[in-house]
Amino acid sequence: MTILETEGLTREYGGVIAVSKVDFQVESGLITGLIGPNGAGKTTLFNNMTGLDTPTAGKVFFNNKDITGYPAHKICRMGIARTFQNIRLFKELSVIENVMIGRHFKTGKDANKGRFLNSLKSYVYLRQEEEEIYEKADSWLDFFDMGSLKNELAKNLPYGHQRELEIARALATEPKLLFLDEPAAGMNPQETDHLMNTIRKIRDLGITIVLIEHDMKLVMNICDTITVLNYGQKLAQGTPMQIKHDPGVIEAYLGKEEE
């Protein structure tokens, strides 16, 4: 089943066409890889699907619903979370606070009451609510083995942990679909291996994942399907095996394998 889909998505910046008429599909339950040379438009595609940027043409569908041009917070609330290529943590906040903020829209909600009563309730029972999100956030940190770091300021974490924290924060929103923009950047091979396991674990939670990555070991190992962008256009799509041997992709992106 296709959970997310773009139709002829195009993003133009005064002359520079960063993404051009891309049809991109994400199958539910799988890990989809998005690769391509630097400047191919991968991040731009992410931004246009997550509401941080608006396409100049084309449409985005999530569960068959047209979400083109929806504001980012709405898209997040529908169940799409993401991380950023240039890490965007709440730097001056502690690790646990970062994750707790991910719980934002899960709080103050009760189907049986109106909005106002809900907010009021959330205000009156605030300790209780805090306790709840604290526990949830804590369990996400444990998921990443970062429980011991929870009171550190986010900005003081080493790079690799910052990346993981970003993922933890995104997961705290309990998404159905998770976008990861270069999650392994700045990690050494061992850490990358660890990350791969984590990503699989996330998939096993029933979360669909789309990731951009330049680390081919990671991509080829864990992706079920891969889409390749080049100069803003879709160059290829297929299984890792197919992509690895696609001459166009080799020429534009992979280069000849050394070994």
Binding site: L52, F84, Q85
Partner: protein, 305 residues
């Protein structure tokens, strides 16, 4: 409204705007590099005006208007610029430098403190009365078909224009100017390029303060010299700088002129009571900012993620 009246208002607006522009240039200069509102700018301007006044009166003695008055005014201006440059550097060293890595608002408070210190020291030393800075030249108005303008007003416009161009050339072309831009964007990385950031910041303050001194003396000719002379005009100039897109030199000039015109035409053309002059000026300012949130000359740069 008659043609003559219209042009008279235009003239008034332009020259008032020229005054705002003159001061806004110095403001924008410092802001552009350090990203903080130098609240004390108006007070440095005041100090500049006092120094200029004393030197000018001392040099001139009782000489009648003529070349000597002009020359002595010029000397007074140089002295005042130099002293203010030093003052500006000293203030930066003492009150702002320790706060470079602190939160954005810390230097603002420090600047407010400096502003209190300067204006009240002046009041204590020189008294609170307004003093007249005499024109060094004949300021008889020139009448062109019923539209009147004084040489002083022309001078202000010319000086601010010249200053704008000179500053722009300096910042865009010179090595030091480039260093300033880099410093304004990222101090740590600027150092990696071999830029002496401390020196750049000092120089910025020196130039900004010298500009303030020039502005102070020129407006003192019209508005007199007194301890709080820089407060209101400094505020307006800051508004002008923001209107133009803060940190942008041509923007400051343009913002100044525009604010002057707004204040003038708001009441002159639309028949709104003059009491509401500021309301119109600020109202339009807010609207302009809403339409162009980065000021008129600022570029809207959407953050890339």
């Amino acid at each position: 409204m008659g043609i003559a009246e219209f042009f008279q208002h235009l003239m008034n607006g332009l020259t008032l705007g020229g005054i705002y522009a003159l001061i806004a240039l110095g403001y924008t200069m410092v802001y552009g590099i350090l990203k903080f509102i130098n609240f004390a700018h108006g007070d440095i301007l005041m100090v500049g005006a006092y120094i200029g006044l004393f030197v000018f009166d001392g040099l001139r003695g009782s000489a009648p208007l003529g070349t000597w008055t002009f020359v002595s005014f010029f000397i007074a201006m140089l002295v005042s610029m130099a002293s203010c440059a030093l003052l500006g550097m000293a203030i930066e060293r003492i009150a702002y430098k320790p706060l470079r890595k602190a939160t954005r608002l810390a230097p603002l408070l420090s600047a407010i403190g400096v502003s209190f210190i300067l204006s009240n020291s002046a009041a204590w030393m020189f008294g609170t009365q307004s003093r007249k800075l005499n024109y060094p030249f004949d300021n008889t108005p020139i009448d062109i078909h019923g539209v009147v303008i004084t040489p002083h007003q022309i001078l202000i416009l010319v000086v601010s224009l010249v200053m704008m161009i000179a500053l722009k050339m300096f910042v865009d072309r010179s090595r030091m100017g480039k260093a300033m831009r880099a410093t304004s964007l990222d101090q740590d990385t600027a150092m990696l390029m071999g830029i002496n950031v401390n020196q750049v910041i000092s120089l910025t303050f020196a130039i900004g303060s010298a500009l303030a001194a020039t502005g102070g003396m020129l407006i003192a000719l019209d508005y007199k010299v007194y301890p709080t002379m820089g407060t209101m005009i400094g505020l307006k100039a800051f508004v002008a700088a923001v209107l133009g897109g803060i940190g942008n030199i041509s923007g400051a000039m343009f913002g100044g002129i525009l604010l002057g015109l707004l204040e003038t035409f708001g009441v002159a053309v639309f028949g709104i009571p003059t009491g509401l002059k500021d309301t119109i000026a600020f109202g339009v300012l807010i609207i302009i900012l809403l339409v162009k949130p980065e000021g008129l000359f600022g570029k809207v740069e959407k953050e890339k993620v």
